[in-house]
Amino acid sequence: MSNVEKILELFRSEVKIVNVGLEYFYKELKKQGVQAVHVMWQPRPKLEKDLEEILDKIL
């Protein structure tokens, strides 16, 4: 059987949620009193290829 320890850990723990995308879901979670944070997500800007390559190496 596969390793399910991490899932059992989730089952046993207080659920703490990072919401990415629709802010609405974050608000619904807060209504339930769930510990949650919201990420104001935006797609990354399209970069020139040489800059992508530099960033890949140094960030």
Binding site: M1, S2, N3, V4, E5, K6, I7, L8, E9, L10, F11, S13, E14, V15, K16, I17, V18, N19, V20, G21, L22, Y24, F25, E28, L29, K31, Q32, V34, Q35, A36, V37, H38, V39, M40, W41, P43, R44
Partner: protein
């Protein structure tokens, strides 16, 4: 003998209220008898002196300097205490909970164990990966996630023993928390794995209404049970429930899986499973129950049956009670159908299902296939019955208003009732329509008062029919519990007051509708339907 130690931080300014708070926290550290963190003003130094907290070093501090003063047990590690206080001084804290990157968000929610991701599907991979890399489970609500991304993410997650619930997972319930669209249901011994969003909602709610409850509900996304994905998350979740001491019964809900995946699921139950299982492959063909699983595996065809059989595996008594009180015995259904059918006029012969839940639509189509034959839909079982224009019903029609053509650029109909409200009135104008069917999905994620939002339209629809000399039957099923923020009982009351007939399950709503439009209300038919669709096979 207690030790007193002062540390002076030169030119280190902090607000006095903040320092007061810090002092209180410092006093709670183990080994600390008394402590104060203050700016080195004359007044503060005097007060420290009185408290017996001032040393020569502290006396030399100026008013722009901060004094950390600690009185500790002789045995305590005073150096350690002071460095802890210094740490508290510069620790990042925040009251706001919005961030501009995943990294910042994770940093500010220590112990985060689940991510709810609803970004456009093409970005899902890049958003989900960082969570998995940090050992955080993911509920992926996004649609349009490329299949290869789903496979990659799920393999990556499974290797690490992590869940990727979704994509297109509308619902999960973890530890009582409703994630995305889900209801407040009882905790109990039944675990649910669902590749069908409103399927998970209906089964968890019906289990709860029957008096039992669930451990967790894991939505795995519709494609998980298809060959390409191979049931990665379904099988992982089953494994987790097998190992979870609180789960006694495992219920699997989905549209019919690909045959190879279905085999994997059944083999797992037979060979690796020790617990009791209920499968609900809605509209699927019966399969052979492996001899080793006999007695602990029941197969069902509807959500109604899945919930009942799961409860039955927990307690025969609860089951018997639920069949009578919650789920309506056949004779009750006959009574309702007869009464309504008798009010219809000549020419009223069709039903129109206006659904917000995808699985509820599908379940209705499966039931109508049996009772009425093919019906029109924007998501038909038989491709020949694809509605040419999803905005216009014809003959018997069942429409899933949660499909893309109705949701592009607007909220889901579970949140925004506008489209259905208009459609109800439209349907009422058609003199051939006898029955309207409405699902009212409540719980977290849904509209704060769906019944209320539909009342005007329902009344108007009935009015229009009446003016045409007809009686319009409106059936509804409220998917939710009395503990949901919208309160199921309250929602049902509002609907009944508007002349709506409320059915306790989606399957019973479909059965009732079919009986009314066909006029076939004999008990024999109902009983055979019950046997086929509302109980399981062992």
């Amino acid at each position: 003998m207690p030790t007193v130690r002062n540390v002076v931080k030169k030119n280190f300014f902090r607000d006095s209220v903040q320092l007061l708070h810090l002092s209180e926290e410092a006093k709670k550290l183990p080994g600390v008898i008394d402590a104060a963190v203050v700016m080195g003003t004359e007044l503060n130094k005097e007060l420290l002196e009185k408290q017996g907290l001032l040393t020569r070093k502290g006396r030399e501090a100026g008013e722009n300097d901060m004094i950390i003063a600690v009185k500790a047990e002789d045995s305590a590690d005073i150096e350690g205490i002071i460095s802890k206080i210094e740490e508290m001084l510069t620790a990042p804290t925040t009251v706001e909970t919005y961030y501009y990157s995943i990294e910042s968000a994770i940093e500010h929610l220590p112990g985060a164990n689940l991510a709810l991701v609803s970004v456009p599907g093409q970005y899902a991979k890049e958003v989900v990966k960082p969570f998995l890399e940090r050992g955080i489970h993911v509920h992926l609500f996004s649609d349009h996630v490329p299949l290869e991304d789903e496979i990659e993410l799920k393999r990556f997650a499974a290797e690490r023993g992590l869940l990727v619930m979704g994509p297109e997972a509308g619902t999960s319930i973890i530890n009582g928390v409703a994630v995305a669209f889900a209801n407040v249901v009882n905790r109990g011994p039944i675990g649910i794995v669902a590749a069908a969003g409103t399927g998970l909602q209906e089964v968890s709610v019906l289990i709860s209404r029957a008096g039992s409850g669930i451990t967790h509900g894991i939505g795995v996304g519709g494609r998980d049970v298809k060959s390409a994905v191979g049931g990665i998350m379904t099988l992982l979740s089953m494994g987790a429930f097998e190992a979870d001491p609180d789960t006694q019964v495992i219920t699997i809900v989905s549209k019919p899986p690909s045959p190879d995946v279905q085999d994997k699921i059944i083999n797992f139950i037979a060979n690796e499973g020790k617990k009791k299982y209920v499968t609900c492959f809605i509209g699927g063909k019966d399969y052979e129950i492996p001899p080793v699983a006999k007695g602990r595996l029941v197969q069902t065809r509807t959500l109604h049956a899945a919930a009942l059989e799961a409860v039955r595996m927990v307690s025969e008594d609860l089951y018997k009670e639920a069949v009578k009180k919650v789920f309506l015995p056949p004779e009750e259904v006959v009574k309702i159908a007869e009464a309504e059918a008798s009010k219809l006029s000549e020419g009223q012969k069709y039903l129109r299902g206006l659904f917000t839940g995808g699985t509820l639509t599908y379940e209705s189509l499966v039931i109508f296939q049996e009772l009425l034959g093919d019906v029109w839909s924007n998501t038909p079982l038989n491709k020949d019955y694809q509605l040419p224009d999803p905005w216009k019903s014809k003959e018997n029609s069942v429409v899933d208003l949660g499909e893309e053509e109705f949701t592009a650029g607007r909220a889901h109909p579970m949140i925004d009732p506008t489209i259905r409200v208009q459609r109800i009135v439209e349907e009422a104008k058609d003199p051939e329509v006898a029955v309207l069917m409405l699902d009212m999905v409540i719980g977290y994620g849904s509209h704060p008062d769906p019944a209320g939002a539909h009342l005007d339209a329902i009344r108007k629809a009935k009015e229009i029919a009446k003016e045409g000399g007809r009686h319009l039957v409106v059936l509804a099923h409220v998917l939710g519990t009395d503990e949901d923020p919208q309160n199921a009982a309250e929602q049902e009351r509002k609907l009944r007051e508007a002349g709506v007939i409320v059915l306790p399950t989606n399957a019973l709503m479909a059965l009732t509708a079919a009986m009314i439009v066909t006029g076939r209300t004999d008990e024999a038919l109902v009983k055979s339907f019950y046997e086929k669709f509302l109980v399981g096979r062992r």
